[in-house]
Structure formats: structure tokens, C-alpha cells
Symmetry: D2
Subunit: 357 residues, 4 copies
Amino acid sequence: MKIGVLNSGGDCPGLNAVIHGIVGAADQLGFEVIGFRDGFEGLLPPASFTRLTPRDTIGILKLGGTILGTTNKGHFAAKVGKGSIAEVPADIVAQAKATMDQLEIGALIIVGGDGSLTTGLQLFRAGWPIIGVPKTIDNDLSATAITFGFDSAVSTVVDALDRLHTTAESHKRIMVLEVMGRHAGWIALWGGIAGGANIVLVPEMPFCFEKLVERIKQRELQGNHSTLVVVAEGAKLPAGDLVTLDANAGGEVRLGGIGDRVASTLQTLTGKETRSCTLGHLQRGGAPTALDRILGMRFGVMAVKLAAEGKFGRMVSYQSYHVDSVPIQDAVNQLRLVQPDSELVIAAKAVGICFGD
Amino acid sequence: MKIGVLNSGGDCPGLNAVIHGIVGAADQLGFEVIGFRDGFEGLLPPASFTRLTPRDTIGILKLGGTILGTTNKGHFAAKVGKGSIAEVPADIVAQAKATMDQLEIGALIIVGGDGSLTTGLQLFRAGWPIIGVPKTIDNDLSATAITFGFDSAVSTVVDALDRLHTTAESHKRIMVLEVMGRHAGWIALWGGIAGGANIVLVPEMPFCFEKLVERIKQRELQGNHSTLVVVAEGAKLPAGDLVTLDANAGGEVRLGGIGDRVASTLQTLTGKETRSCTLGHLQRGGAPTALDRILGMRFGVMAVKLAAEGKFGRMVSYQSYHVDSVPIQDAVNQLRLVQPDSELVIAAKAVGICFGD
Amino acid sequence: MKIGVLNSGGDCPGLNAVIHGIVGAADQLGFEVIGFRDGFEGLLPPASFTRLTPRDTIGILKLGGTILGTTNKGHFAAKVGKGSIAEVPADIVAQAKATMDQLEIGALIIVGGDGSLTTGLQLFRAGWPIIGVPKTIDNDLSATAITFGFDSAVSTVVDALDRLHTTAESHKRIMVLEVMGRHAGWIALWGGIAGGANIVLVPEMPFCFEKLVERIKQRELQGNHSTLVVVAEGAKLPAGDLVTLDANAGGEVRLGGIGDRVASTLQTLTGKETRSCTLGHLQRGGAPTALDRILGMRFGVMAVKLAAEGKFGRMVSYQSYHVDSVPIQDAVNQLRLVQPDSELVIAAKAVGICFGD
Amino acid sequence: MKIGVLNSGGDCPGLNAVIHGIVGAADQLGFEVIGFRDGFEGLLPPASFTRLTPRDTIGILKLGGTILGTTNKGHFAAKVGKGSIAEVPADIVAQAKATMDQLEIGALIIVGGDGSLTTGLQLFRAGWPIIGVPKTIDNDLSATAITFGFDSAVSTVVDALDRLHTTAESHKRIMVLEVMGRHAGWIALWGGIAGGANIVLVPEMPFCFEKLVERIKQRELQGNHSTLVVVAEGAKLPAGDLVTLDANAGGEVRLGGIGDRVASTLQTLTGKETRSCTLGHLQRGGAPTALDRILGMRFGVMAVKLAAEGKFGRMVSYQSYHVDSVPIQDAVNQLRLVQPDSELVIAAKAVGICFGD
């Protein structure tokens, strides 16, 4: 059998571990692996691909990014917004199918996020031998308990907070760190707890500035003159309060994303020197953590197992400490969000972390 | 209520996160925390302890070791061997109890390994208000799905393998890394997979040199002239084969632990330049990973919750992604070992990792 | 003798190493050390200070920030702009002097940047026993070959570039990283070379977008579809060209500092997906590198030596691989800038790095 | 012109940066680069080499080891002991020369240590167009102020000491770390200072156990119950004292190198729990530091410059903050040792570090 593999969507630490797992497992079973370059685009004529053997994957476990390349947009991913992915046009599907047939690909493993897996589902329904591997650095897919890349992103956040902590203490400042998470606040929550943040703002729990200011003042009274704030990209005020946020912006804090705006507002409201940082793409790069390497590798191995067994239309998943699989159609478009009354949030509150809710 | 806390046994990344969790949670509930120094020894007259407030735990999340100190041996830990802990003498218990009474300690949280928790069980049965928090860097306690410190130790192993990998490649050598794990091979298994090891030797799966040599020769044929080997301290040959191992030792490889002996034997049998490294205490130190900080913090929070609810004689435990608790008596002396037919071992074999079994 | 020490201005990795060196050396000589809190502010009544003994400095070598705290502004630092520091008002000096006299401080070590040392010079001229230790993370003081903190900042930049590199490669993007350096481009230059940047923009060498675009197109032709750009905060277009930069800003790239604007302009001009990151305060934090720890420690030791010898009005300096000292008046306000025809710039150009000049 | 390059001797962080510099600089000048595999061995028929273009060096700056491979022994390096390198046999030279001629190599850059450069000198005297680049992780070559790899090795030592520090404190132990340095103690000295070691033992300063024990007891009196010891491989007792060292060995400390023996002896003499670690090959691996990447790159650029100018028989060197060159014959066999009365040693003693001398 010939197994095709492609990465689609934003890059994420652990993608190379998945490739490593696929190539290693296929090699043991005597399968050939064809890696398509730059996501689905590699399927379009002139097809762009490379044969992958175990020698090609030496040393890639520790590399961020993907040796295959990936693409966010292109002819396949006509996104119409979160949760409403446009169908891939029939002519594009036909061209790609010709490549599949010509190369005699018996299984196509798609390592991608919600949008890419939705495309995968369309292709599966059109008869393609699709196997999905979930990729979401935000760890927000309900069909799998954990996804690779998340632990690495959290580690990057924690490393940044460790750095900001000494600066904040030395200058008695408020330091605000903006991290990824438009819809789900997992990175902010885990990173904030592990990095010793005092305030964590996540999309699932709209925050009031009043409560943040109250907490900062309370800290001053206890002798803590610095405060670390982690803000998820998608953090928001309760409906109707957005005006307050923008109106206070300005001064020495640079205008920009939510992090900058929260910093500016806190400086105005507390009178304390406040600085902000936005981690941005640094969260997607760097060597994957041990956990993400192992998870990625196991996902790759399971994908090959599904291919060998002809179990198409399924997505690899991690459940109860075991790698398993679920139908793709049950997995896409099902977000796992931070629950305000979950044990982790309650534990965070128990040690004094303020969510502003 | 006054809550006492002590660390007992070898140190482990995340101990300070547990303390952070205990102090933070106790503070929110209005409890006082007394930290005893150097394990159980701090209870003996003249008692050695310190009051812990949130200000005392600023910045400790990222520190290895424990701010309270710990001790492996002493008046309490009269170990008679793995699985047979001697009773603590009555006079020692009486002296410690006097300290407990004098300080009006309403709950004593013991953060310790199997031996220390066995001692805790004895004290609980004698009427002490004991709560246990499991500490085993080897992650080998069956009563909890995961323990803090393990992820950090694995990360240290992976970092070492990443370093050895380029050296091994450049010199076309066999590099052997000895890691912790006398009874359970989890650190070797996880570290080996994530670090790209080609051979992993664990106590649960006795190995034959013949199979290792065969694998190394096979790699040579495939053009891979270097091999990374991870050996758990407790790795062993099948019964009766130990002579082989020792007889071949010597030459340029320094005599020492199992790692050195495996290296020496492989050099003799393959004729390839072989070097070995023993990580030793480096695995216990360093900043804990994000995962270990969060797990430690959550364990601490749960320990305070158990104290508040008067649920003594229980040990904090992690099960199905939730922090919970179990009776200490059900937890001690129950090792969780690597199962040779488990999914993780099978996945490792699927990508070509050799266990020599 | 009693030696006073204070940190002034922005924090910088290695400040604690200086304190470690001062306290260690003073202890060996039988001197007492008084650490003033929050810069010069600690001298004003009610004086804020702490006695420092070797026990207080255990474990601080590896910590970023400063255990003494520092302040950028305040009653002493009435900055009027780079290179024109206002005199400290006489009443403030008198109040601080009273503290000095009351505590019988025989030498006051000021660890600070150009502005703080200018203040130190004023005080020395007024009869204070001042010793200066230079602190500039930008490494831009001509009176010393190297300053602590610079190597750590460069390491942070390199770590960020290592992360961005795999992302840039995977997505075939241009990635722009903005780093510190308003007047001197040393951090961008060293960080860019070590991190494998393809384009480095420094204040000392105004750049043309035309040349950058030409270089990016040339790389495309050679098969390199990603480009890493490092921009110092103070990088600039040749006089008159600023309009071009701003006019093209907008689109998907967030408006902000020079990094964001360069990214936006490059995206417009090349049509390639471009992303930007600003490191900001992350460059000041984190554990200092080995080099910075040693340099800081040596500076501290030399400062105590100068105090013991009564050599006031001098600043510690590193010259020809030796720690020495120079008169403060010869050191302040003398910037060391990147020379476009220096060996390092020529070497960078020799390996294909483009400066846009 | 065609430039050949080879790495010879033990690997060292920064070798790939040298290759990066050579390939980049050659490309700008229109030269071709041929990389020989596995040191001088690659010159012997059947010659083993690869053409190197800038595309082949993408991403190698951050990799330890060398993409060309290297060898410690082989047909060229008939070492007869430190400082007495045997001549390479005439037939071997002739075979290698044939490869040089056949490939029309106009300059051969040898990146190697003292032994390899001595071989290079022999070849230069026989008419080969040799250029040397010094490689010594020990930083012990008097002809250059600094060599790449040293800063990375020191960083590894510091990272290990940071890890051991918290363990030592938690357990009130003596921890001994053995590091590289058979003849010169630079790694132990720099690593020890930066890592906060209390005792540093280097080959240049024979030590007495009495003085170590005295220092440890003095620390106990000051309330410091843990002690960090760094021992260079070549550390030694004064003549005649070796018996003492060995006689006390044994007990719980594993027999082995000098580190283990020092640990064992200290445990016996002080009665304190003592543990030892040997860093070994971990010091050679890992991503090079920023400094080493830049230094390596600059060395590579200068080597190409020397080739372009036909300045053969010279070795690249770093002097007074500039990259320059010296005749190979003036460089080989000239060790730079730690001077017991140097400023750095005196500074270390000033902060209380004990050398046992």
C-alpha cells in the first residue's frame, strides 16, 4: 500500500513527530509513504510530493514546523468563517483525485485542524480513503482529550512568564502577556497557572475591569507590588462594555490587540506602570516538548494502523490515556471550551488567581 | 485550622508547586500553614518549622527541589527494603506527636513516596490527621494515573538525548544513556521515544544482547551508523545471563552502572566505538515543566480540600483527567509497571524501537 | 567600611550577579553591604534598604531582574532626553545625603546606565564616594568592551529566531522580529547573525525597501521561499523616506512599532505572506547566560576593590579581557555604535546577510 | 576556486557554524565548496565528499555536531600522546593528495584541534594549500583568545549546576560535578563561577582535601549545609597524595573518574551525604550558544578570505576582539592554562570560591 500524508493549516509543534510515526510504522509494515508538500496544494497538478523513508525522518522529532510545509489558504480551504467551511469546488477535487489515482495512493492521512478535517470529510464522502489526525494547538477539540502542540505552546507561555516575572518584580509593574486562544482559553489557563500569573482572562469568562483593579489593589495591600496578567486573544468584556476598553487606550502603551488594550486600561485605572507583550508566532515554533513528540508519534502510528485496516473516514483521538479513533463527522466542529465551574478553574481560584468574572 | 506539611524522600521537580498550591488554597480558606523542615525530622524536638504565607511562595513555582528541605533517611524511615518498611518506633512517634499537639496541627500533609506514605499510614492508624500526596518521579504508583516530576525527568532525558544525537551522528558511534528507573521503566520508555532512541531497555522487559546487536547491524545496512540506547537503572538480562554482561566489561568504557556495562559489552560485540553517560541526579533538578507545576499545584489544592473536609487517611490521586483521592492503604505498595503488550510499547516497536526482548 | 549599592534604570540580566559579586567580595574583606531598594529612591527618607550577607545571595546568580528592585524614573532621574540629564535638585540630594551619613556609608556603588551614571557623576562632584558599574543591555557604551545583559538579550533573540525559522519555512513566509536597540543595533546584529536571519536592519545603517525586496526575490530564485528579518527598534529609512513606510502599512499586519510597519510594507511590496513579532520585555528577563553571570560577578568584585582602595568617581570597565576602571566622566554619554565597515558587518555580508544599505 | 573543508577530532558545538560561514562566504565569492566526510578519512580513496551550497546549510547554525562527520582516529591521526603527533605515513599522504588533485581542490580548510593542525602543518610543509581553523572545546590554545564550543560547554555545565543546586539544598548534600578539562581547567573555572559552585578544582592548581574539608565545615558554621563542587577531569592532588584519594574511595559512591573519587573521599572525611555526576559527552552536544555560532561563522568567513588571498599555512585566530590569523606553526602545541594568580581566579576567590590550593 502507498500512504499519502499532508499537513494543512497553521503549523504546530509535533507535526514532524506525526510524520516520524507514520513513516516508522509504514516502514515496519512494508508500506510506502508519499508526503505531499504545502498541504492540499501538493495534490494539484503539477503534484508536489516526496517519498519519505525512515532515513528522511532522522532528527526531525525535535524540530518545530513541518518538513512537508503547510498552507493556511489555497484552493481547498475556502473558509467562510469558523464553523462554516465552503465546499471544495468539484474541479479542484477532480484534479487532486487524478494525482491520487496516478500515484496509486491507498490512504490519505490529513493532519489538520477543524477546517481541514471538514474538507477531509467532504473528500471521504466523495469516496476518498481519508484518515484524519487532529491538529489544534488550542487543544479545543472535544473529540480528543489532548492534542499535540498544546503542551509546547503552554511551555512557551510559561517560559515568557518566568522572564516577565523578575522584570515585573524588579520594577513593581503590571505585566500583561497576550497569548493564543480566540475561542478557547486553554493556553491562557494552563500557561497562566504554571507561570504564576495572578490574573487570567479567557474568552469563556468575560471579565470586568473593576474586579481586576480590586484584585490588584488587594495585592498592593498584601505587599505584592507587581502583577502578572495573561490574556487570551479572544478574552472579552461582558456584552456592552467594549467601549470602556477602547476609551481608555492610549498613553505609553502601544495600541494593538487585546493585550495592549488591557494593559493601557489597567494603567489608567490603577495608575501603576504597565507593560504588555504579545507572544504571537513564538508559540507555534520551537522544539516540541517530550509529551508532544510522543503524542504526535502515537497519532502517526495509529493513522497507519487505521490505513492498514481500511478504517477510512475516521480521525485519530486520545481518550482515557489511549490512542483510539472516532468518525471524522463526529469530531469536526465540536469545540471543547473552558468550563468556568471545572475543577481546574476552581483550583486556580483556590490559589488566588483572578479571572475577573 | 492549622495545616502542617512536610516533604519526605528524594526530591522531585514540582514539590514547590505542591507547597504553592497548599499555601494558596489554605490562605483563601483562612487556614494557617506550618512547613516542617527536612521531612519527618522537623517534627522531632527541637521542632524545626516555619510559617508559610503566600508571600513566602512567590517565585517558587519554577524552582526545583523544595524550600522545606527533605530527607531520605532519619529516625522515621527505617527502610528494610522495597515493600517492607519497618514500623516507626513508638518513642519517635510520641515525640513527634507532642510537636503536633503543641502546635495544634489539625491536618498533616505528607508529600512523599511509597515508604513515606507507609509511615503516614502507620501514623493515621495511630490517630493522626494524615493526608498523603504521592511523590514518585518514576510515575510508578498504580493509584494515580500520573505524578508530578515525571514529565520534568523525561524532559531532562530528552534534552540529553538531543545532545547525544548530534555527537553520535558526527562520530558514527553508539551512545548509551543510563536513566532512573529501578523497578519501572517509564522514564526510559517515554524519554527514549521522545528523544529518538533506537534501543530502549527497561526492567520489565529483560533483554538479549543478540537482539541488540542484530538491530545495530540492521541499522548499519540501512545506512544508519549511529545508535542511541537508553537504559533504565534496573534493566536486566534474562535470568542466568548476567555473567555475559560482566565478562565483556572493561576496555575504554569506564566500569560503573548498567549503562557503562551495556556500553562496554556493545562495543565488544559490535566493534563500534561506544560511549556512555549516566544522568543521575540531573534528572531530579531543574525547573519543573508546565505540566508538573500544574499537577503539583492541583495536588496541593486537593490536599487542603481534604483537610478542610476532614477526610484523613486519604491520598491525593489523578484519575481520568481529574484530581481525586483514594485511601492511602489502597495506594501504597502498588506499583504500576510497563506492560510489554501495552499500546505505548507497541507504538514504540511500530516505529522501529528495539527493546531487546 | 559600609558599602551601599543600588540598581537604577531598566532591569537587565546579570544585575543579581553584580550584587552577588559585591556581597561576596565585601564579606571576604570584612565590609558590610547595605542594599538600597528601588534605585536612588531608597535613599530618600524614610530610607528603604536591607543588609546583604552571603546567605542573602544564595541562588540569585541565576535569577533575572534584581533582588533590590530598581526604578526608571523618580526624584533623581529627571531625564530631559538622551544625552541631556537634568541636575538632581539640591533638596533631594540633601535628603539622600542625610541617609548616607546616618548609615555611615563609606562607598556607594551605582549599577546603572548612562543617565544614572550622570547622576552619579553629579553626586561624586558634590563629594559623594561614588563608584559606577555600567549597565546597558544594548552594549553601546564606548568605555567598556562588553557589558553584562547583552549576551542574555542576544540569546533570547536567537531563541526566538530559532522558533520563527521553522514556522517561516513551513509556511514560506517572511517573518519580521523587532528587537531592542534605539540608537545602537548590536542586539539586532549579533542576534540576527546567530539566529540565521537573512535581513538585519540597524539604526546605524538606514535601509531601502528596494534592496530588501531585491534580496527576497533573489532568495526566491534560489529556492528559499522564507525570509527572516530582524529589525532594531531604531532602524530607519534614509531621510525623507518615512512616508513610504507608513503609507503601505495596514492590511492584516497589526499597526505598531517599526517591526509591524516593516512587515506590512514588505507584504505589500512582495505579495508574500508576512508576519511580525515584537520581543519587547522578554529580552530583559530570564536567567542570565554564563557569560553575563561571570561578567556581572567580576564587575561587582572590582567595584568593591575600588571602594577598598578609595578610588571614587570611577566606573568599572572591561578592556582587553580584563576588568579595570575608568573615570566616570570619561565614560558617560559616549556611545559605541555599529560601524558599517567593521569586520563583523563585513563578515555578516560575506555570508549573504542583507542590511538594506 | 574549489575549497575543501573537513572536520577532525572530537565534535564541538559551533562546527556547523564554521561550515555555514565557509559556504556562505565562498558562495558570495563564486567559489565552490567540497565537504569531506569523517575528517581526513574522506580524502582517502574511494573519496567521500559532498558539494555544499547555501541551501545545504539552511538550519544548521543551531545544530550541534557536524553535518560532515568527523573522526578521532584513523589513518592520519596516529597520536603518540599529547604534544607528540606521529608523522602521517607517506603512502597515506600520497593517496589523499591524489584526491585533492583529482577534485582540483585549491585550498583545504582543516577545522581541528592541536593534533589535526599538526597534521595540517605537515601537509602544508609538503606543499598542500592548508588553512587551519582551531577547534578546542577546552579553550586552551594560546594562539587565539577564544574558540567556539567553549561557551556552549560552559553553558551546559551551568545548566547542570543550576539543577544540582536545588537538589543539594533540599538534601543538605555535597554534590560533585565532573567536567571536561584534562590539562586546562577553563570549563571548570568558568562553569563553576557562573553556576555558583563553592569549590572548583582545576589541573593547574593541585588541591588538598584538608582545605576542602575546612571550607565545607566553615560553610556549615555559616548555616550553609550544602556545597557544590566542580572538578575538572585532570584535577589532581599535589605530588604524592594520590594514595589518600584512592584509599578512601568506596562506600555508596560509585567508583569511576576523579569526580566519583573526590565525592567518595569528601563523604568519608566530612560525614556528609555526597553525590557525584559526570557530564561527559553531554558537554559536546546541544545547540551552540549565540556566541559560539557567531564565532564559528566568523572563523569560517576568515578561512575563505585566507583561501582567496592564497595565505596558506595560517590558522584563523581571535585576538583583541577581531578575527585574524597566525602561522599554524606558531599555534600548535602552545597551551593556554589557568594562571593561579590571574584576575579571574582572584575574583573567584574574592567571592569565596575555594580551589583547595
